[in-house]
């Protein structure tokens, strides 16, 4: 089994007042294994969100190189990165990021439309919602769903177009412990049953035990990397 993403010495610097530079990331080398759940952990401000944004082609490193499924995304232009995000990447955000004017079903369907999927849109959207266990509530508007339900719709939306990688930035930050565990369980199932690669960030220690690959960041630098088997249940 190979790595779907590899980075080579990536750094991300921000200019701050006074012309100085602040490094959110410094010389990070990381490899994301395919069909595994990878967890990026670290305290707030450790650089994990910056890293996940770069891996997901939302942001660019100031130095270094990122290879996504064999392609150098740091060499891509804006259109190519948009294309990559539409077709090969799915995002789940920390806060509820559903489109408020669309029903659960429409939110999922919209991701398929954006990815340019032309056939069996309906079936695929329903299937994704079934996968996250929300088939029964798919015609509800986001504000009619609970926080956990909304996050599950977001996950359905992220996986509907069968991306290579799903990125999840603190997907459980706004959820209670029980719901968080359910979301984590859903992730594990998706990895195991559907063979999806998932990368998520979290600072919740209780959830870290579930990953296949664990990277720990501190002050923008990688301080720990370990691979472990998922504990069942």
């Amino acid at each position: 089994m190979g790595n779907v993403i590899e980075t080579a010495n990536i750094s991300r610097a921000f200019s701050v007042a006074g012309g100085e530079k602040f490094y959110a990331l410094r010389d990070v080398n990381i490899a994301i294994p395919e069909n595994k759940l990878t967890i990026l952990k670290g305290r707030s401000g450790s650089g994990k969100t910056t890293l996940i944004n770069i891996l997901g082609a939302l942001d660019m490193p100031t130095e270094g190189k990122v290879t996504f499924a064999g392609q150098d995304i740091t060499a891509m232009n804006e259109q190519e990165r948009e294309e990559l995000r539409r077709t090969q990447i799915g995002f789940v955000f920390q806060s509820v990021s559903l489109i408020p004017i669309m029903t659960a079903y429409e939110n999922v369907e919209f991701a398929l439309r954006l990815a340019g999927v032309k056939e069996n849109i309906k079936e695929r959207a329903q299937e994704s919602l079934k996968m996250v266990g929300l088939a029964a509530r798919m015609y509800h508007m986001p504000q009619e769903l609970s926080g956990g339900e909304q996050q599950r719709v977001a996950i359905a939306r992220a996986i509907a177009h069968r991306p290579k990688v799903v990125f999840a930035d603190e997907p459980t930050a706004e959820l209670d412990t029980g719901t968080s565990l359910q979301v984590m369980k859903l992730f594990s199932e998706l990895v195991e049953r559907e063979g999806i690669t998932i990368i998520m960030t979290t600072h919740d220690r209780g959830l870290m035990g579930m990953g296949g690959m664990l990277y720990e960041l501190s002050d923008g630098q990688l301080v720990n990397a370990q691979e472990k088997e998922a504990e069942n249940g």
Binding site: N53, G56, L58, D59, E78, Q79, E82, E83, L84, R85, R86, T87, I89, F91, F93, Q94, S95, V96, S97, I99, P100, I101, M102, E106, F110, A111, R113, L114, A115, M141, Q143
Partner: protein
Amino acid sequence: MFKFLLSKLMHKKWMVLCLLIGNILLISIAVSYPMYKQASLNRMLNDEFNNYREKNAGNPGVITFEYTKKKNAGDVFVTLDNIYNSANDAIGAQLVGVRVYAQAPSKANLVNPRDDVGELKLRLTNMSGVEEQVSIVTGQLYSEGQDVIQAIVSENCMIAQNLMLGDELAFTNVKNAADNKVRVVIVGVFREMDAQSDYWVEGADDYADNLFIAYSDFEKLYLQDLNTSAMVKGTWYTVVDTGKLTTADIPAIQAKTRDYIKSAKDAGGTTKEPAYLEIFEEYSSKANRVMASLMILEVPILILLCAFLFMISGQMLSMEQNEISILKSRGASGGQIFGLYLMQSGLLAVLSAVVALPLGIFMTQLLGSSNAFLEFVRRRALDIDITAEVLLYGLAAVIVSILVTVIPVISYSKVSIVNLKQRKNRAGKRLWQKLYLDVVILAVSIYGYYVFSQQKEEMTVRVMSGSSLDPLLYFSSSLFILGMGLVAIRIWPWLVKLVFKLVGRAIKPETYASFLQIIRTGSKQMFIMMFLVLTVALGIFNSTVARTILSNATQNTAYRLGADIVMQEKWKDNSAAVRAGMATELIYTEPDYSKFNAIDGVANVARVLDTKATDGARLLGIVTNEFGLVAQDTGLDDYALIDYLNVLATTSNAVLVSENYRSIKGMDIGDSITVTVDGKNAVCKIYGFFNYFPTYVAKTVQILPDGSAQTVDNYMVVGNLSFIQSKISVTPYDLWVDLKGDNADAVAAFIAENKITMAKYDVLQNEFYEIRNDTLFQGTSGILTMSFIVILILCGVGFLIYWVLSIRERELLFGVFRAMGMSRRGIIRMLLNEQLFSSVLFIGVGAGIGALVSTLFVPLIQIAYTADNQVLPLKLITQSSDLVRLFVIIAVMFIICMAVLARIVFSMKITNALKLGED
């Protein structure tokens, strides 16, 4: 709290700026109304006085008492003199008093007779204060108490009585105390020091038989013993300086003048009312009508400004609802939050008022210099006072502004963070939709329209008899715009859904998202839609009202006058011989009219005999080929004017007659008709009927003394001048002059140079000038122009701020779209599509409603302006340049708005946008 407020305001500086703009406009328009009212009414009053002076060559401020003392009735003299002396206290205006005592004309002879002077009839006269008001031409001023009384006389008296300086006169019947004949010597000749002075109620030359002597001399002869039988006439002139009167003085002056006159009358004097009393009456009814009409015109723009403030303040609140709910959760009471916003509104309103007052003065000057819609000229500036009324209006505007901006707070101040989240994104049916208020409003306005159009004739009569148009009429037009706009908003979602159905779901994802956005959140945008409809529709309506009213008035005036100049030279005649019994028939000498044709600047001159036949019909005698070159074709009849003239030219006794000869008198083509003028008959043959012929007015409404109205049918016969002259006689005819340009100066100069006496001289441009200077027309174009400019500003600012801010609210969502791989162009395409189906659509709806409301209501509104002048059918004028202005502004705003949006979208960092959602 105040510090917190200031930092909050600094944070929202664009919103604050918008609120300030709205407030400043609201307050300055509100204060400009009383300013303009007061200043223009003073100007109007002044014009009335000037008109009076021009037409009557007299002073409108003169109050006259007269009393002729015959036998013994000296007391009246004293009483009247006392009343006259109290004038300053009684009337209290700036005034000048003149008292003239004159003896009855008495026989007098020169002491050293001359051949050319016989027995004279002269009057010893004393005029109070005359010593200071004359300049002595020759000789000197009299000195009092001489044995031979010294007198001065006017130049005209010298000539009329054939007197010389130093002449001594002896009165035949006037004796002094010593019972000697009174002798007078002429020591000086005077003229007025200032002929324009109010002192000279009668000019010096009017005193043609008066020997002016000193008071003490006059007193010795006539006033020491008032019970003598000598006849002395006293005239007391009290002259109010009308130039200094303002409208505010009217009620007091009216009452005091009446009391003053009454006391003189009660004392036994003969009194003459000053002309200003009548001028006041006329002025007051006119002023009320004008001001009511102007007030009505201002109301829609004030309402629009309130709507603007309401919208912006609502928008600002919705941006701050998080802060409000946090404040609530931390224990702030609803009252405290309300107080905070009250302070904010108060601060902004008061700040605005400081700027608005000078701006209001500027606007008022602008109103006073408006010439036509969106057109200004240099004119004498208005005298603007900051009166109590102005401050009152300003205060009222401040209070309204505070209310309007604070009302939305009430609902927000009750919401805490808990129910805020529940409220978000909820877009149900509004109350007005559930109650079908839109349909009700529209129905009321249509009913109003129906009622008013049924009463068109009664309205004409009412306006002619001095009352103003029913404010409800204007209100109906505003309601109509509002109702139509709301109905459009009700229908709109259905329309968008229909389009969405038609285009199907196989559209670009961004287009798909934009349709869902409109359909699901459309009701949130109702206010901006309504605002767009109101601004565009009102803009078009205002422009149409202003343009139509002025063009209608000028066209009717041009039609009724007939040509650029209509004039008549004073013809020489043998009237002296007729009076002396040397001739029986009045014969005129026809002057050579062709001399006017030679003036540079004159294109053509036509002879037009305009007279009345015995039966009351108007008879117009024309020379067809001349007339064709001068008269304008209205294009309203079945045939062109030129065709009518050609028919007339075929036969010498052919006539064209007004349509009512057929419809009322049952005549037909080929019938003969006898026109009688001064007992002479011309038998003519009808060759055609017309509805419109230059100057012809088919019906006139007359107001009878009892106030009721009567419609009179007017008949007119147009025939060949030579035929009429041969059958009746050669009498003075008018000359219709067609100028090469507009300027009639060359003709006026020619007349002055050749000392031609004119019996009639009417210039079309002068009448146009009068229309444009009329307070009603001027105020109307001024206010409509001001409203239009305000509409342009509001439309621009409102559109920009509303969209930019509501887009900012959706930044997180754009971040999500971008993360999902939607391109920047895609987002802009999405917003464009949204705009197309919301703003652009409603600008179109506004334009449609504007056109419709103009078509319906302008014909009714113009009644207020040309009721007594309306002959031609009304033509709606919408000047395309106004529409271009309106739409260019909208387009510019739209482009700016899109540029701002594009900038937001292009500079947006997805990662930052997403962070917005992390709370």
